[in-house]
């Protein structure tokens, strides 16, 4: 009895091994299909849901990038689109240039760390303040810039860095940033404070830590810094911006690796840059000033 069983197991193994062997070379057949010079005609686009442009972002989506029904309110992407906020309006502008009506745009919730998960994506593109980085671009496609970003430092009035005028003044500060952001890299590479920065899952956690005086300041992108100081914090203050870097940092929309849609989105972004749409949106949503920290 035992012998038969063992033989059966072995046999099954061999059969399956033979059966699977053939598939091995063809393993990546379904993976990447780069259509050379793909047509950006709406009908020929390879979409997650036919006839719809599915756009991802995180939930909740915060001003000034997205705005809910009320002023300064975050937007929940599972509810009715408000078409307010820099990224939301940019997304609709891109969609329009690709030939989609507003009704054909569908939103889906994609947390930041799901945007680069391997396997098929559930969005056509994801717009969520994601900075381009050559290493990141090995896993996903990035569009061209829809916003050139600067980092800034937020604190509370009266804190020990509230009056900092230069990066040197931040050396002794305990700073915090959101996980996975280039803000964290900015702390480590450019500010290089003496104490190790704290790292949080969300900007809201960083705000809690700032309020609890566990950290002296938060480093975030400049528009978010303005929103934090004005809305999310009582007595919040933007200490200043970190001077722009040589190789400028920018936000791009994220697409599946080698997506044929990437070129089309780039064309759309170029168009809304050329016709002044993006400048207008920037004036509308992302204005504010703060000194540059030398």
């Amino acid at each position: 009895m035992r012998k038969t069983l063992a033989l059966l197991v072995l046999g099954a193994g061999l059969v399956l091994a033979a059966g699977c062997g053939g598939d091995d070379e063809g393993g990546d057949a379904g993976g990447t299909t780069t259509a050379a010079a793909a047509s950006c005609d709406k009908g020929s686009l390879d979409l997650v849901n036919a006839g719809q442009l599915t756009i991802g972002t995180d939930n909740p989506a915060f001003p000034p990038w997205f705005e809910g029904k009320g002023e300064f309110e975050p937007w929940d992407p599972t509810t009715e689109p408000t078409k307010k906020g820099y990224e939301q309006e940019t997304a609709y502008a891109i969609a329009e240039n690709l030939g989609f009506t507003d009704a054909e745009v569908k939103w889906t919730v994609v947390p930041f760390n799901q945007s680069f998960r391997p396997g098929p994506k559930k969005f056509d593109f994801d717009i969520n303040q994601i900075s381009y980085d050559p290493k990141r671009a090995e896993a996903v496609d990035f569009s061209d810039s829809y916003y050139d970003v600067e980092q800034a430092v937020v604190t509370l009035e009266g804190s020990k860095i509230a009056d900092a005028a230069s990066i040197a003044d931040l050396k002794d500060a305990k700073l915090g940033a959101q996980i996975g952001t280039t803000s964290l890299e900015a702390i480590n590479d450019r500010i290089q404070p003496s104490s190790e920065p704290s790292v949080y899952d969300t900007n809201n956690d960083a705000i809690s830590a700032l309020k609890a005086k566990q950290i002296d300041g938060i480093v975030v992108d400049f528009p978010t810094a303005l929103y934090m100081a004005a809305v999310q914090l009582d007595n919040g203050k933007v200490v200043g911006r970190l001077s722009a870097q040589e190789a400028g940092e920018y936000f791009g929309v994220v697409l599946e690796k080698d997506s044929p849609l990437t070129e089309c989105v780039n064309e759309a972004i170029q168009k809304i840059k050329d016709d002044g749409t993006l400048d207008g949106l920037e004036q509308k949503w992302l204005t504010g000033s703060a000194p540059v920290l030398g």
Binding site: A6, P118, I179, S198, K213
Partner: protein, 282 residues
């Protein structure tokens, strides 16, 4: 608790290893080898022949990123070890205190027993992650003077509170497993209730619960990663940073290996203790 222990000793007790199936003859070994090779061979084939494998391989098992991230993550594991060692000392003490208070007899001590029951129920019921958030961000925000603000401190406090509740139950089971005749005998020799507990009941109880205690500590070693939520950068957080920088999940795999490497010695030590206990009792 006694059940857990008994199940443990049964596994280790049989003369031939359970893992190899027992029975003794070389033929069984052969069958075991063939079946193992076939089973794992099949599993590997199934995974590597799946259509998504090339991309998964690239994003989860990238050798260069593995080496690079391991260098960044390994030093941060010391933070986990530090949290674990500090917390463990307090957990052992608090857990025992709670268990003893809960075992106090007589109606006078009812409120004490009641508070210990409420404590254990509450902290075993609330997810650890919530306790860490509440203590990590909540208490320092009260801005009471003299109360530390360090997120490291509050992370350890939260772990101590939660694990003391678990550990107190382990101790209590140990105390209750000591036959009442032991205490009766001690009292009849003229020992006070306290002394009977200290010199007769506890030594037997603690020895019995060492394996399940170590089991809880294996859990604690892993839960040190939760402290990252309120700010400190430890191994898991460092791996998240590496993942986000590369958009590649290999650093998670590296961290998993580090944690396994950290917990395996304790797991084997527990097994060894159980086996030794078993030999002694025979």
């Amino acid at each position: 608790m006694a059940d857990r222990q008994r199940a443990g000793s049964r596994v280790d007790g049989s003369r031939t290893s359970r893992i190899l199936g027992g029975g003794g003859a070389g033929r069984s070994t052969l069958i075991a080898v063939v079946s193992t090779v076939a089973f794992f061979g099949l599993l590997i084939l199934l995974v590597t022949s799946s259509p998504g494998w090339p991309q998964v391989k690239e994003q989860f098992f990238d050798w260069d990123i593995f080496k690079e991230s391991l260098r960044a993550i390994a030093p941060k594991l010391l933070v986990n070890v530090k949290i674990f060692l500090i917390a463990e000392v307090f957990i052992l003490a608090f857990g025992l205190a709670i268990a003893i208070f809960r075992s106090l007899p007589g109606p006078v001590f009812f409120p004490v027993r009641l508070s210990m029951v409420v404590y254990a129920d509450f902290f075993r019921g609330v997810p650890t992650i919530l306790v860490i958030y509440l203590f990590g961000f909540g208490v320092p925000a009260l801005a009471i003077s003299g109360v530390p603000r360090s997120e490291f401190f509050w992370g350890i406090v939260a772990l101590v509170l939660v694990y003391s509740a678990y550990v107190s139950e382990v101790y209590r089971a140990g105390i209750e497993s000591v036959h009442p005749s032991q205490e009766a005998a001690a009292r009849s020799l003229g020992l006070s209730r306290t002394k009977a507990m200290r010199f007769v009941v506890l030594p037997q109880a603690v020895r019995r619960v060492i394996p399940p205690l170590l089991n809880d500590f294996i859990g604690l070693q892993k839960d040190t990663a939760l402290v990252a939520l309120i700010g400190p950068v430890e191994a898991f957080r460092q791996s998240q940073i590496e993942v986000a920088a590369n958009f590649d999940y290999t650093p998670y795999f590296a961290t998993a290996l580090l944690f396994v490497a950290m917990t395996i010695p304790l797991a084997r030590f527990t097994d060894w203790l159980i086996a030794r206990e078993r030999r002694k009792r025979r």
